[in-house]
Symmetry: C2
Subunit: 117 residues, 2 copies
Amino acid sequence: MAVDLELTPKTKRAPGEPCCEPVVYPDVDRERALRMAEVAKAIGDPIRLQVVDVLRKHAGKVCVYELEPLFDVSQSTLSHHLKKLRDAGIVDSERRGLWAYYYVLPDALDELAAWLG
Amino acid sequence: MAVDLELTPKTKRAPGEPCCEPVVYPDVDRERALRMAEVAKAIGDPIRLQVVDVLRKHAGKVCVYELEPLFDVSQSTLSHHLKKLRDAGIVDSERRGLWAYYYVLPDALDELAAWLG
DNA sequence: GATATAGATTGAAGACGATCGATCTGGAGT
DNA sequence: ACTCCAGATCGATCGTCTTCAATCTATATC
């Protein structure tokens, strides 16, 4: 039960059989991982992913009213999804009269896209 | 609610003020959205994202034993995260002796990466 | 066979997410 | 002023996620 202060991992391994290459650290640091994971999580729902797809293809602005019939969820649920996308910094909206126009923020997906390769 | 087959939206809009362009359909169909969202959700956690990053940078195989000290979570939590990545089809593992070697499956991230641009 | 170890699984806690109907808000039309 | 409508928010339900300690399962060494 003696404590081993060597550079080797916390317990001995089978002699003559190295486990694997030396310990490696992630190239992506925790902050970057948090940012990218937040974006990934936001598009980690099929409805939100399709919403982003529609908004991207219509580079202009699309109002929630037109979005609604495309998805098989209630108005409040869609509104909730849009809020998630807003909170993740992927989309933003602009109000004109009764309608709210949504659009994908430029560069919002770039870091994740670049990491994915 | 299913997509409305009429050309006009379900209620009248303010006269003289068109809401927006005609209804558009997502280019990404539901099945593709489900597949991509599953992958996005799997990397939608900072630890899992960093795990994938380490495994990708070390195109070979890295065992869980080497992975453990890199992350500030218990062994069972890390094992659980690895299972999520396996279930999402992002990584796979191979057992050799006591150790389990993980690697990112080729093409696993391609569809999402391509969609993100 | 006995013991140690890498890793998966289980069970439980608490936080978080998706969804809905109902309600609230604030512009527009009458 | 009153009504109507697009959209946001609220409150509730129910399921999933993250996390841990504890246990189980193979494999390796003695």
